[in-house]
Symmetry: C2
Subunit: 304 residues, 2 copies
């Protein structure tokens, strides 16, 4: 079923996304416990960095991939919180003066502005470490093989051959001429691998077959790329009031994007094509994958 022909079930995805965000926020609040010791400040900063909000797309993917295999809700929720910790650590470090030097994130002061730079560095380190603490904890799954597998998949996706490597490439890429292959690889590493892990986590928790696990990560990689293209489209043509950030920022920074390479029209076509391809990978799961299909539609049609 193509994305365009899918019945517009906007209420479903928005409600479902909101519901999963509420659950994961509650779990993050429970896992990142405030303390009274002298180290309280770094935990406060970790809480701040995760509580600022966001769509919680990665947790939604974990929860709804896990649901395909009827994974115990608590296990999925813990894995979802761990992925969000990792995502939030990457934002905190990305925003640092030595990196993107951003003062605001989702309209709020970034962690190093709200606290200070040293605290922000430590808070990022603490969140990254806690993601592994949560995944490896017995409460996340009774089977040690599953817990170790989760840790390993997250480390590969988040490491120097994944997200961290992608951030390095992104930093070096400013004012460089990237071709479509290079920018696709950059985005796959920088954001795609963690999105793929989010779906893979559900498969791991659900003792999925190799084929099922592969189908979910393939779905996620197409979805992640579509997400990035739509991001570039919104940046190029979006309404600043709606996206909540200044538009045309990429062009101003001299950054190659999917839009600068493909042009608006081909980028739009490409995003829809990737959405269709993403959904094809879900065929083997039947109706159980509907919440993931809603996400595809949401990603393609989002305005912010």
């Amino acid at each position: 079923m193509s994305v365009e022909k899918m019945p517009a079930d906007k209420m479903s995805i928005e409600k479902a996304l909101n519901d999963s965000a509420i659950s994961v926020n509650r779990k993050l609040d429970e896992l990142i416990k405030p303390v009274s010791g002298a180290e309280a400040r770094v935990i406060e900063a970790m809480r701040y960095a995760t509580m600022v909000g966001g769509k919680r797309i990665r947790p939604y993917l974990v929860l709804n991939s896990a649901a395909i295999f009827d994974v115990h809700g608590e296990y999925a929720l813990r894995a979802a919180a761990a992925v969000e910790m990792l995502h939030c650590y990457s934002l905190v470090h990305d925003d640092l003066p030595a990196m993107d030097d951003s003062d605001l994130r989702r309209g709020q002061p970034t962690a190093h502005k709200k606290f200070d730079e040293a605290t922000a560095i430590l808070a990022g380190d603490g969140l990254l470490t806690m993601a592994f603490e949560v995944l490896s904890h017995r409460d996340t799954h009774p089977d040690g093989e599953v817990r170790a597998d989760l840790c390993h998949a997250l480390a590969v996706a988040g490491g120097a051959n994944g997200m961290v490597g992608g951030q390095m490439i992104d930093l070096l890429a400013e004012n460089q001429e990237l071709d479509i292959g290079a920018i696709t690889r950059l985005q796959r590493m920088k954001t795609g691998d963690i999105i793929a892990f989010s779906c893979e986590a559900g498969a791991i928790l659900g003792h999925a077959s190799r084929e099922q696990r592969h189908a979910l990560t393939a779905y996620a990689h197409k979805l992640g790329l579509a997400f990035q293209i739509v991001d570039d489209l919104l940046d190029a043509e979006g309404d600043a009031a709606e996206t909540g950030k200044p538009t045309g920022a990429d062009a101003a920074a001299g950054k190659a994007t999917f839009v600068s390479i493909l042009g608006l029209e081909r980028a739009r076509t490409q995003a829809r094509l990737l959405g269709d391809q993403a959904n094809e990978h879900l065929d083997i799961f039947g109706r159980k994958a509907d919440p993931l299909r809603w996400m595809t539609e949401f990603v393609i049609n989002r305005k912010s």
Copy 2:
């Protein structure tokens, strides 16, 4: 057997420490593979940060704790490399301008001086992530419970209630009046928990009993505290040429240390007492723990 009465087996510990450093350096070189992609720079920085050298005390503790339980050498070596990755990440982030702002580490430019600040932040993130990648990998142990347990213990020791929390306290502690309890807690978190993990890793890999695991972590905590006191003594009275760093730096920074609180003589006595207590915890292991006893002697008597 008290530390003072132990036969001075200086050659043994120095040779043993050197041998284990050579093995772990080789393993680090193998695990942190250079790549040819655009992300090569961050991996280069990760290699630089781990190859600068150092005594490799933590790997020595992993290898020789594991040896008590006749753990397969390759498993122990991978865990040893993982601990060193975590240690080196903490040094890279600690040295950053926003933290300790150090230009030199072991006589070499720190990572952010050799590369740049953004690369150093990412290299630290990459090393921290890779430590978990290595521990959770099937090559580290065939039993998933063991791998998950290793990940969990490292995350607890390295997280906001361990090393990261200790660094936060340390940053806030400058020019504060810390009492002996507060400084002991700070050091236990900042350096002691990872030293304890190093010994715990051997116990986990060796399917040790709860009592054995506890004995090793208790040994390590006493050892770590003794190490820190000797560090403070060397800082206060050491010869700059021998320690390789300017002395009296702590006093100049207005930092409370064990020496500033206890005075030289009581600090010296305390270090020896902790060394004896550390070794008492090893009694249950008989002669198999001799390499750990050598380490105690080394820590107490070191001049740099």
